[in-house]
C-alpha cells in the first residue's frame, strides 16, 4: 500500500462512516409518530450490540473458557448496575485469572 492509496482508502472509510451517521441525524427533524417505527428504533441499538457480542466475543481472547467466564462476570456486574468501566475491567481481570489458572494446571 503506497501513500496515495492510503489516503483514498481513508477518504472512503471516514467519508462513508461520517455520512451514514450524519445524514439521517440531520434529515429527521420531526418526531416520528408511527408506533412500529418508534418501537423498531427503540430496539435496534440493543439488538446491534447483542449481535456484535454473541458469539464473536467467545473467540476474542484465544481461550474460549476464559472468554465465557469473562462474559458471565460482565453480566453479573452489569445486572447489579455497575458502571461501564467497572464491568469492562472485571471481565478483563476474569479472563487473565482464568487463563493464568489454566496455564498453571497444565
Amino acid at each position: 500500500m503506497n501513500n496515495k492509496e492510503f489516503w483514498i482508502y481513508l477518504l472512503i472509510m471516514a467519508g462513508s462512516t461520517y455520512l451514514i451517521r450524519a445524514i439521517p441525524f440531520a434529515a429527521v427533524q420531526k418526531k416520528i409518530q408511527n408506533v412500529f417505527i418508534r418501537s423498531f428504533l427503540y430496539y435496534i441499538p440493543y439488538t446491534v450490540l447483542a449481535a456484535m457480542t454473541f458469539p464473536t466475543a467467545l473467540y476474542a481472547t484465544g481461550n474460549i473458557y476464559a472468554a465465557a467466564a469473562g462474559l458471565i462476570v460482565a453480566m453479573i456486574f452489569a445486572v447489579r448496575g455497575h458502571s461501564l468501566t467497572i464491568v469492562a475491567v472485571m471481565s478483563c481481570v476474569t479472563v487473565m485469572a482464568v487463563t493464568f489458572l489454566m496455564t498453571m494446571s497444565i
Binding site: 471516514a14 445524514i23 427503540y42 440493543y46
Partner: protein, 233 residues
C-alpha cells in the same frame, strides 16, 4: 455549562473503555504494516471499532475501493438507525449545522448513553463526546507505539473489554424489561445461527450483524410494540 459538564462526566467511562479497545486496534494496525500516524489518523477520522478493524484488513491489499465501501456501509448501517433514534430525543436547539457536526460522534456507546437521557441538548452531547474521542485517539497511539511491550495474556484479556462494555449497556435495561430481554435473545440466537450454520456463515460478519439486528428489532416492533410512555424509561 452545567449540561456540558454533565455530558463530560457521562463520557468518562466510555473514554476509559475506548482507551483499552483502541489500544488493541493500534497494535493490530502496526502488526498489519501501518505507520503509527496512519493508525492514529484512521481512529481520529473514522471513530468506529468494527468498521476500522474490517477497514485495515481491506487496506493492506491494493485497489479494493468498492469492497471498502461495501464493507463500511454494511457494518455501519446501524449508525443510521441510531441517528434516527436519537433524533427523536434531541432538544429543539439541537438542529441544523449542530446535527451535521455532532453526527460524526454517533458511536454505539455514545448513542447508548445519550439514549438514557429523556432529552439530549447540544451541550450535553458535546460534553459526552470529549472523553470517548480522546480515549479512542490516545489508545490507538499508545497501542501503535507501545503495544509490543505488553505480555500476550494481558493483550488477549484486553480484547474482551469492548464486549464487557456492550454487556454493561444491554444487561441493566434487559433486566427490567421482559420485552427487551426477549428481543435481545432473538438477536443472539440469529447471530449464533449466522456464525455456526454452514450455509449462513458465508455471509460477511458486518452484514450478518446488520441483518440479525434488523430482523430482531422488526420482530420486537411487531410482537412487543413499545408505547409512548415506555420509551423514556
Amino acid at each position: 455549562m452545567k449540561d456540558f459538564r454533565k455530558g463530560l462526566g457521562c463520557g468518562l467511562p466510555i473514554g476509559f473503555g475506548y482507551l483499552s479497545v483502541s489500544f488493541t486496534f493500534g497494535i493490530l494496525a502496526v502488526s498489519y504494516g501501518f505507520e503509527w500516524w496512519q493508525a492514529v489518523l484512521i481512529s481520529m477520522t473514522t471513530l468506529t471499532s468494527a468498521g476500522q478493524l474490517a477497514g485495515i484488513g481491506i487496506m493492506i491489499d491494493p485497489g479494493q475501493y468498492i469492497q471498502m465501501l461495501i464493507s463500511q456501509l454494511t457494518i455501519n448501517i446501524r449508525y443510521s438507525f441510531m441517528s434516527v433514534s436519537l433524533s427523536q430525543k434531541t432538544s429543539p436547539e439541537f438542529s441544523g449545522i449542530r446535527r451535521w457536526i455532532f453526527g460524526f460522534f454517533m458511536t454505539d456507546e455514545i448513542f447508548a448513553v445519550a439514549s438514557g437521557e429523556s432529552q439530549v441538548s447540544t451541550r450535553f452531547f458535546a460534553g459526552l463526546t470529549v472523553a470517548p474521542y480522546f480515549g479512542w485517539t490516545l489508545g490507538t497511539l499508545f497501542g501503535a507505539v507501545l503495544g509490543n511491550v505488553l505480555p500476550e495474556f494481558i493483550m488477549n484479556a484486553l480484547c474482551l473489554a469492548i464486549y464487557g462494555m456492550f454487556i454493561a449497556i444491554i444487561a441493566p435495561k434487559a433486566k427490567d424489561s421482559m420485552k427487551l430481554l426477549s428481543v435481545v435473545i432473538v438477536a443472539i440466537a440469529l447471530s449464533c445461527a449466522f456464525y455456526y450454520v454452514p450455509i449462513l456463515s458465508v455471509v460477511s460478519q458486518g452484514l450478518s450483524i446488520s441483518l440479525c439486528a434488523v430482523i430482531a428489532a422488526v420482530f420486537g416492533a411487531v410482537t412487543f410494540p413499545v408505547k409512548e410512555g415506555e420509551l423514556h424509561e
